[in-house]
Symmetry: none
Subunit: 205 residues, 4 copies
DNA sequence: AATGAATGAGCATTCATTCAT
DNA sequence: TATGAATGAATGCTCATTCAT
């Protein structure tokens, strides 16, 4: 009893702790060397644990990558939903989404690299990921656009889901460029630029 | 030009032919199994040649992937430049670019998979590719936007290169979705939709 | 004796009990999966104890196999000696031995599998086992044959120890066949058949 | 042409050669260390080839063990059938079989160890082997006994297949003892002893 | 140029054993 | 005694690359 209380207060429960440690270590290693070039031994060394210990928490190297995605996506979506609460205006909701998208990814460059690069390197992964959290994300954007159309704010001649993909694609490209850029610059402000064009287009009025 | 004519006339199997055969075979194999899961032996078998022969034309498996990219990008850019000749209007030039982008990739699904998926799976590759033809491509778009701004057609409060990335990102997402989609639909028409938003935005006028 | 009574009375789970539990569990697991494919964790799970507990009773996985053999062999030999008491006729003694051999092994199929299969899979084990209880067993048979020769009942042109091996080999083959057989049949009656040939040969008189 | 003729005369065709080399090396290694304790690298080193080369000729370590058995059994059975040709007397046929059995195994001690020990260490293997050549062997013995019964030479109150197992078991035990023995003695003469008992029994007439 | 047999470095995963609690 | 999380050595197999022919 005492112990479990203490554990909860002082550290996380042992299991969770080490699982997260491995996930964080793997993110770093994958970001640095790429998924296929990362050895499980690298991850273990980075985490300061024995090779075998990794397998007490994950069934395989693949599962680690999956878990990184699942965890980050879950957190992103639930945080996003929470932050969107109370925002009614579709324009403001999209603004919030775009800002969160860039903000979250620029907060953890390693995670961003895994998301933008490592997760894209196989159709197998991509298909699984599309089927998973990513579809949820697109749907949130799409629903917002739909409500903007219903409210008479957005043009109705384009399907919401396509609009959503366009916005996502533009933001995604911003992130990828930021990662690959040799210069270091703040990512988040790009959101506003993307939104200006997404909302108003490049044409002079 | 001269070389290819000669090859054809003299009927030498000539480096060029087999090189292309390998490149085509590799594209197919990479698209089907992914780069890391493809064996050089698979490529050789697909090409109907011996394993060792691959190494008479390419230094490594990596170099094959590079060459696929280089060749396709060169062709795309040179074909693009040619087709853009005589088109003065920035709007029309961008329309042409967007249509070509989707058209070329939908013409060869295997190539598209390699471009959208396999080439994205490593920062190493991505950095090299960014430095290569991809930068040229972005520049062409960017220059066109610049000329549109100079001509007073496009808004000037956004940097051309950022605009270019936004357009590219949107188109790129269309292609990726098309590849991963279980349904089969024509990709090219998506260009017009992207352009409508890129030019005019989603806001109701 | 005394110890087992004490254990039972005082109801101490006592070393002995758990040791036997582990031995029984290991026999089952080895019989099902084979020695090399059995994990210590499997044995522990089968016994309903923690992995580490196994090592409080046995130094190693090897020692468990040894102990299975030693214990069963000790029991078999001491039970055998007891049952042979009072039987004077060499023929009857051999009959008893052959019957006991097949009876004991058919009583516990898992144990039989371990004896016929798992214990045979390494020269190291086999040599150790030959040096252990198995030699005692052969000696008992051999001595009986010797006394039959001395009594003028058995032919004297063949060395008792060789005779013993022949009898053992024939019985052993009966057991192995019984274990591997897909059909289920009573093993013990085979003893009589073996003895008929061992005693009288296959030639028509 | 010339080359293939030469190859045939001077060496065996390359493939066969190396396959046999691996088989011979593996037999030696398995006999020395046991199947489970032998590394594929040990086999390769013994054969003087690279680790990977083993896999050009065999799918797995298991398959090597299988092949050792299959090849030896095929050779033994075909050689045996040939040597039995023209021998009509069932007694003489059994004598030939028993002698061949011990002779062949004593000719190659490593092979004998693999047959007597390594092949026995797993029910999986044993079942497969029972289903394979071993059953053929027992059948040959059994058929001979049957013909002896039909000819009125052998007693008819015992099923031929059981007789066959008894004879096999006795011979098998001779081989196992010979292998495990610290002293070196000729194995083949044991055949006659076994036959004396098998034919005439141990009882004094 | 072409072949394809041979190479051998490389790595994910397993599991007997230990030890802090 | 008992636990079970942690350890880390051990190994079968793959595959990019080479090279003798």
């Amino acid at each position: 009893m005492v112990r479990s209380v203490r554990t909860t207060i002082q550290n996380r429960p042992a299991g969770g702790d080490k699982r997260e440690l491995i996930l964080r270590s793997a993110t770093k290693v994958f970001a640095e060397r790429g998924f296929f070039n990362s050895k499980v031994a690298d991850i273990a060394k980075q985490a300061g644990i024995a090779d075998g210990t990794v397998y007490l928490y994950f069934k395989s190297k693949d599962e680690i990558l999956h878990s990184i995605f699942d965890k980050a996506m879950d957190e992103f979506i639930s945080e996003g939903k929470q932050k969107l609460e109370g925002i009614e205006s579709p324009v403001e909701r999209l603004r919030k989404i775009a800002n969160l998208h860039l903000e979250k990814l620029s907060e953890d460059r390693d995670m961003a690299i895994v998301f933008q690069v490592e997760l894209r390197g196989s159709t197998k992964f991509m298909e699984e990921f599309s089927a998973a959290g990513f579809a949820d994300y697109l749907e949130i954007i799409s629903d917002t656009i739909k409500s903007g159309q219903d409210a008479g704010e957005f043009r109705t001649d384009i399907k919401p889901i396509v609009c959503a993909k366009i916005l996502f694609g533009a933001l995604d490209e911003m992130v990828t460029n930021w990662i690959l850029s040799k210069q270091s610059y703040p990512l988040k402000p790009m959101a506003e630029t993307v939104l200006q064009i997404f909302f108003g287009g490049v044409m002079k009025q």
